[in-house]
């Protein structure tokens, strides 16, 4: 990416040779400047800023599997959620049943697809999301009033009971200066393409955990998009361990300045499970902070995870702090994890930015340290895995959910072939 420095270029006219300055860099900058930026980006097509967003399915051609954002997904396992035969069909199966716990200050509605609020905080950015948008028949809308503090988690239970390909839409709006804990608990069997939109009002704090605890046969592709108001805080924790194939694309966009997003995730892929998480944090305004941390443990033949972390810090912003990290622990032979952090910085005026990524087996130094304290190897390994995963569980911040996820983790660890 061309790092254009206007001050340097202004000195250009006095130079004998165009583009040749005292520093060699000037030439490079000059040359880059001479080429239309669009050309470069079209050519490489890698900037997240170029990704199409649209409610119109025709804008997303039938998938070939070559697309950057689909190249890791086994399309043949999507049970036609991506409509491989053309745009005419809809996903007509019964969507998983939704129920929401009741709280003062929270309204729960089931609305028709033409409700004006739907789609106000998200735009589909891939084919399956557009298909879900085209297909859903009614949506669940959860609205939290302004200035309320709801400690008890608002729980949205999503319970699948059919494997007919279905579409689902959930809309959550948190009012200004309110504080809520919210859990989306996805269980049962389903083949579903899902859009979830979150609006976090000015000064509000939303702490969201989305649990993918599906039955083994479930296929779930989902977009979870958040729009953050000025000075709001959004924590989004994804816990995925159930289902045959889960592909989630959590996105945070900043609608106002001074907001903070923490995007965390934990996945535990067993034999044959494909778990894909592609996050996107779009720093399009000033003084916003993002912290992303996803951790995965994989065991068994064909256990597969994909993590892509797109962070875009746009050229017109300042005061951004951003860090993203993904760590994967391969617990057995035959498991595969892909991890791709993409940090794109279009501006030089950021406060801090960074990314890290790892795919590895056991840390032998950790193992040695614990064993040198008398802890037998199998127990030492479990401690290390537990510790590795705990880092995310500790971030959920909702006691009951932390306890439930800890229990699931203990079951997964009990099965470890160490």
């Amino acid at each position: 990416m061309a790092n254009t420095d206007a001050t340097t270029l202004d000195e250009g006219p006095d130079l004998l040779i165009p583009g040749m300055g005292e520093e060699g860099e000037t030439l490079v900058v000059q040359q880059a400047e001479n080429q239309p930026v669009e050309d470069e980006e079209t050519k490489y097509g890698t900037s997240r800023a170029d990704r199409k967003t649209s409610f119109n399915l025709a804008d997303f051609p039938v998938l070939t599997g070559e697309e950057e954002d689909w190249r890791f997904t086994p399309l043949h396992r999507l049970a036609n959620l991506h409509l491989p035969e053309g745009d005419e069909k809809l996903l007509t199966g019964a969507a998983p049943a939704v129920s929401v716990t009741e709280h003062d200050g929270v309204s729960i509605e089931t609305v028709a697809r033409d409700d004006q609020r739907l789609g106000s905080f998200m735009v589909p950015d891939d084919r399956t999301s557009a298909i879900a948008w085209n297909s859903f028949s009614e949506a669940t809308v959860v609205t939290v009033a302004d200035n309320v503090n709801i400690e008890e988690p608002i729980t949205i239970s999503v319970e699948g009971n059919s494997t007919d390909p279905a579409a689902q839409h959930i809309h959550v709006a948190v009012g200004a200066n309110s504080r809520v804990n919210l859990v989306i608990n996805q269980t049962g069997k389903a083949v579903v393409s899902q859009n979830v939109e979150f609006a976090v009002g000015e000064g509000a704090t939303a702490n969201v955990t989305s649990l993918q605890a599906w039955d083994d046969e479930t296929i779930h592709v989902g977009s979870q998009q958040a729009s953050l108001g000025k000075d709001s805080t959004f924590k989004h924790v994804v816990i995925t361990y159930g289902g045959s194939l889960v592909r989630l694309t959590p996105i945070t966009r900043f609608a106002g300045e001074g907001a903070t997003t923490n995007m965390y995730g934990l996945y535990f892929a067993d034999a044959g499970q494909h778990m894909e998480h592609r996050i996107f944090i779009d720093h399009s305004t000033n003084n916003c902070t993002s912290d992303a941390l996803y951790k995965g443990a994989l065991q068994g033949k064909g256990a597969r995870s994909v993590w892509v972390g797109d962070v875009l810090i746009r050229g017109n912003t300042s005061g951004t702090n951003s860090f993203e990290k993904n760590e994967n622990l391969l617990l057995s032979e035959g498991a595969q994890a892909d991890s791709i952090p993409n940090l794109e910085i279009e501006t030089g005026i950021i406060d801090s930015g960074g990314h890290a990524s790892s795919v590895g087996r056991f840390d032998e130094q950790q193992l040695f340290y614990l064993m040198a304290r008398g802890i037998p190897e199998p127990l030492a390994r479990k401690l290390i895995v537990r510790g590795f995963l705990n880092e995310i569980i500790q971030k959920i911040g909702i006691e009951d959910v932390e306890a439930a996820v800890t229990e699931v983790m203990e079951e997964e660890i009990a099965d470890l072939e160490l």
Binding site: F368, Y369, A372, R373, I375, P376, L383, G387
Partner: protein, 254 residues
Amino acid sequence: MSTLEIKDLHVSIETEQGDKEILKGVSLTIKSGETHAIMGPNGSGKSTLAQAIAGHPSYNVTGGEILLDGEDVLDMEVDERAQAGLFLAMQYPVEVPGVSMSNFLRTAKTALDGESPAIRTWTKDVRSAMDNLEMESSFATRNVNEGFSGGEKKRAEILQLELFKPKFAILDETDSGLDIDALRVVSAGVNRAQETNDMGSMLITHYTRILRYIKPDYVHVFVDGKIVDSGGEELADRLEDEGYVNYEKTQAPA
């Protein structure tokens, strides 16, 4: 009374250029209650000796014996060596994310004793050991060595030494990176463990500074993978004045 015997120990490591012998025949016997200081220049193999006794998988023992009360230590797994009563206070304690100190200490104590410690006395023991080492109470809830300063890591090692009550401790440059206050606190911990449990110890160090706080019964000079001289405390004073140069002059420069 216990005895740790090291007999003609040869240890090598794998390098890109092939196996490299680091220890070239080390013999040393330590009895309960004794403190042996091992002093030598950088790269002489002191830490290799410590790691080999603890059983680190990167170090291959190619000859010799290590016996703890006649039992073959080299035949034991790493955890079995600790259970038999050996403790290595590490030069670079390892971070274990997500595992709290309190969980780790209890798990290790349970493994070492073969039964879980009584909750009431254990909590009290941990607290008083932490107080003695001037450690803040928040320490117990932090993850093992994670984000600890150099001094905190060394205190955490000595905390374990006091709680686990080994027969023999190998202290691998426990003094490095400590300021004078931390050195005093950590040394007091080692002395307490020695008095309370009649522990024998091998104190590996570059400097004589720590020997002002922990009095050695024996001082051994370690150069190029071997003990080249042994004596009493006065040998340390001589090293302080003369350095290792008299021992090294027959060696190729590092």
